[in-house]
Amino acid sequence: MSTKNTDVLIVGSGIAGMQAALDIGDSGLNAVIVEKSPSIGGKMISLSKVFPTLDCASCITTPKMAASSHHPRVDIYTYTEVKEIKKVSDGFEAVIIKKPRFVIESECISCKKCEEVCPVYVKDEFEYGLGVKKAISIPFTNAIPQFPVLDESKCIRCGACARVCPKDCIDYLQKPEEINIKSKAVIISTGYEITPMDAKKEYNGTKLPNVISSLQAERLLAPHGPYGKFLRPSDGKIPDSIAYVQCAGSRDESIGIPYCSRVCCMYAIKQAMLLSGMLPLSEITIYYMDIRAFGKGYEQFYNQARAMGINFVKAKVAKITEDEEHNPILRIDRQEDGSKPQEVKHDIVVLSQGLVPSTKNFFGLELEINEYGFINQPQKTLSPAKTNIEGVFVAGVASGPKDIPDTIMEAGSAAVEVINYVKSVKVGS
């Protein structure tokens, strides 16, 4: 097993992990990022545009990805799981497992020929299941690194990719590889998943084809998305009437998620604004409990959306069903006019799901987490990036839902704390 020494081990390469790595590298220390997916970039690289500036997400994320991968003091392991992290006398020892891509990375020239000839289509995870890709493929256009991954479970072993590869680097027998990482400190930036589509049974999220997740909506709105247009999945129709259901997975004791996820109001408003630009004749309605536009420039953004004619309706959606043409039907209770519960029909419904931690298992580290699985910050009013373990820091959504600007601030904060910690232990040793 090979061993790599570094100053800081960063788990997760979303915007939090990348920003922390860049700040650490710029300050003269070394960092290793470990990422379980085949590309760095996290959730942010899959978003359409970002609030409140409406920059395209790629435009902000790709340079951070490129900067991390080019940084002389940052090393990145993608498609790699963390098996365990142990605290030892002089820092931390981690075992990571590099999963087989079934491609010899040192030889691959990213020519995509394997992808072209592969006869097997599989659901594209990057498009959250909306599009398809080949069983061997580069994860997405601006992925880093640009190595294809072979989906072992779907591959039919036809050998087409191996025959076409000009560098002979398809290796069907590639095995996982274990690597030791020794570091002085650790940053956990493992991020989030959105609440599962079936979390709220009444919304039938996994059963109704035209009830989609907010991340699927992000892909439909992205300029390089799966269809190149905003189409509804059941029949490819351009929707005339689109509804957003707020708090579909937050502030809801019935599904065990009572907290507010902080970002859903704003991303729904953003998506509604993008939709209204894309489909100017469509009706867009946001059903909400409270609009929480609390960040810098957010209230102005909300006001702009109202001025654009987006309907904001104070109502809790009780249930979603559909008619025979797969048009979703929402049962709602409007607060404002005191009318009786009513049923309204839309062409497509987006669930504004909340954020849940991506993992509750921290590789054997005895991190204190709260009842929902987010990492506790025991020094909230002194050094909020610190965890209960000396030398382990947290950045981004791993400690609780937050938006991108707040996440970037936390990454900088974790970076300075970790740099100062490493400097102090180096002096001590």
Binding site: I144, P223, H224, Y259, G297, Q377, K380, G412
Partner: protein, 603 residues
Amino acid sequence: MEENKIYEKEHTINENYRQKPKVAVYVCHCGGNISDVVDVKKVAEELSKYHDVAISREYAFMCSSTGQDYIVEDIQKNGINRVVIAACSPALHELTFRGALQRAGLNPYLYEHVNIREQVSWVHKNDKEGATKKAISLVKAGVEKVLRQDPLNSIRVEAVKTVAVIGGGVSGMRAALSVAKNGLNAVIIEKSDKLGGKLNRSGNVYPTGEKAISVAENLSKEVLSSDKIKVYFNSEITFVSGYVGNFQINVKRKNGEYEKIKAGAIIIATGFDNYKPYEGEYGYGLNKFVLTLPEFIEALEKSGPGKFNYNGKDINSVSFIHCVGSRQIDGIDKPGKNGKINEYCSRVCCTSLINTANNLKTKYPDVEVFDIYTDIRTYGMDHESYYKEASKNDVIFFRRPLEERPSVEFDGAKIKIKTKDVLTMNEDMEIETDMVVLGVGMVPNDITDLVEYMKLPKSSDGFLQEVHPKLRPVEVANNGIFIAGTAQGPMDILESLQASNTAAVKAAALLASGDIPLDPFVAVVDEDKCTGCEKCPKECSYSGALTMIEKEVNGKKKKVAYVNAALCKGCGACAAVCEPRAINVAGWSLDQFDAMVEAIAKE
């Protein structure tokens, strides 16, 4: 002013730029942001026929690793010595691509960034043909410009390894501590006689429930015991001069003495002020039982056990009103002294107010509590539980429509609040109450002088403006100046500390290497051509950047213009008045502009 040492570092590894120009043109699709409107293939094809262009390509994302690898490969293997990229705004990626040139061994300034997104595809969505034509013209102009480009070297200035932190509240203290632990010196300049800022108050803070004052004390103990931090109490800043790496802050101390503080970077942590309601705003100032939230928190802490008594009156009911001085709407709310309304949300008041309502209920369970709001924004991880607790505590909530305002009226000793309530089908409600508490928002502290000394940019909400909320969230446009905490906008304590730490890491990275690279886009004087007419220094707005000196040129003593490269901002005002074209901004010479205009006009 002392002359500072200026270093020059050679960027160019090989001398490839001296050879016959071989330009590479790259046209970026920006996902579909550009290619949905502009025919990028046609642009690349047209440019491949243009003079001196050796390679012309288009690609989905030039900023991605693959895109950048094309550039590196073309330079290293195909002998490219000048590069033009047609993509987004240079504000986003000019630095990204200069980095790629540098990695490939080419001088990073032999590069031209043509904006065909903001200036073409986004503004000509309905005219694809016209947009493509315009893109072609602009890229050709870019080629003309880069052909006349000289290799440049960044200017390097020596940096003072001290960070000056303005303001000694939680943000300033956190920033100073992190900077000091990093090995730099920190100086805190505080106008009052103690550290802690707004936390030197009564009451507790969410979400930890600690006493506000002990939060301040925990940090100030660390600050005062650090031998790397010097605190100037009772100090007023009278002027700020200099530039990144070498700022000078003039401070007037309480004893009337002046002192000059030298710093390589400045962190502004001047914090916020509480919104002050005008007289009559919800009855404020007309009745002593209408209080702001901070006033109420103090009153609550001072009141004794048993019954809640304030100003000689037993208080049996308290009504809280949200969004006072925040989320204001034009035409509904009265503008402030600056003639503007506060459109922004102050972020912290909902949780702070509900926390206080819960504290009131804990101390005096029999007091009736009413809460008039339009949206409850208890957004944080633990904040929603305060809202839930308030409901359990029987706080009675009234939800006003977004564009309606409650009224506060006085009838003898009685206070009446009238409001519409969405929760009861928009009924008009009347609440009789003994006390009204106004949930006042945050406004920026008055730092007019600092803004003027440092020429700081402000956002429309009056707080300081960062360069970009995601790319450069704690930097202002002025090099070497950072923002920490609520000087930037409303934040709670935890968020302020995180932001302050981010300011600290950026300041520390800036000063880590001892000298700082600056952009070379400054005025340069062709001393042969300079006639010594003295017109240009009069146009210069940056004190000390452009002066006249007596100098020997070609064996003759003559008067010529002289540029201090560290102070020059490259604005070009000097070039505009120079008839013989003796002064030019490096990288933006008039000859380059001539050629660009010609290329565009030729079409």
